[in-house]
């Protein structure tokens, strides 16, 4: 299983081991993990609630993984995205791309994250002493996705 959407935390080292142990042709593993930042433009946050669209989320992530596999020679891909209540410092997302050589693994990991940010149905709501607010989508994230469509 390459995609998981879960409330629980994940163990990065265990995930890398599970992905790479069965395939000794892998020469490069790139791992990205995203964490909850404490400081936002509105001030310090105490909690972040991640809402998602059950069913569509898994389907969208699997499509993104398929696209990455079509573009790069990948030996393994793993995507984990959490939902529910999170706090500053908590892990939110994990992307692992494994390949024979590093270029494919680096590029695929970046592609997976860029696509995930704009095409997987997750929404963040941050709450702190200043109140609670839904996070706005960033123009920079749209541009990061678009760059892969031009190459």
């Amino acid at each position: 299983m390459s995609v998981s959407v879960q409330i629980e935390d994940f163990d990065i080292a265990a995930e890398i081991e599970a992905l790479t142990a069965p395939d000794q042709d892998i020469g490069a593993v790139v791992t990205f993990s995203g964490l909850v930042r404490e400081m936002t433009d509105a001030g310090a946050i105490q909690t972040m609630e991640l809402e998602h669209y059950p069913g569509m989320t898994e389907r969208a992530l699997e499509e993104i993984v398929e696209q990455a596999r079509a573009r790069w020679p990948l030996n393994g891909v793993r995507v984990i995205h959490r939902f529910g209540p999170l706090a500053p410092g908590d892990r939110i997302v994990l992307v692992i791309a494994a390949s024979r050589h590093r270029e494919a693994a680096f590029e695929a990991a970046a592609f997976l994250m860029d696509y995930l940010k704009t095409k997987a149905p997750f929404w963040k709501k941050e709450a702190g002493s200043h109140g609670a607010a839904w996070v706005d989508a960033r123009e920079a994230d749209d541009q990061a996705t678009t760059r892969w469509e031009q190459t």
Partner: protein, 81 residues
């Protein structure tokens, strides 16, 4: 047809989902219809440029045909990762 709302659309409408009978041909037509339902619908759909739509769990444009659709979801741009 099952209508789903997420994020601030859900909060403004006041419901996560509702089952409706509709002849709307596109999501844009459906929005026009939903805005007349009262409650928070008019406020939720006030700024159409901020709204994204998925039909049967696939992202589509607002003029996508709704024929045969079972589930239509409305939400703001995604902010995962």
């Amino acid at each position: 047809m099952q209508i789903l709302y997420f994020s601030w659309l859900r909060e403004r409408v006041g419901e996560a989902s509702e089952e409706i009978e509709t002849q709307a041909a596109t999501p844009a037509d459906l929005i026009t219809e939903l805005k007349t339902r009262g409650g928070g619908h008019a406020m939720a759909f006030d700024d159409i440029s901020a709204i994204r739509v998925a039909v049967d769990q696939q992202m589509v444009e607002l003029d996508h045909p709704l024929e045969g659709a079972r589930e239509v979801a409305f939400f703001p741009p995604m902010t995962g990762g």
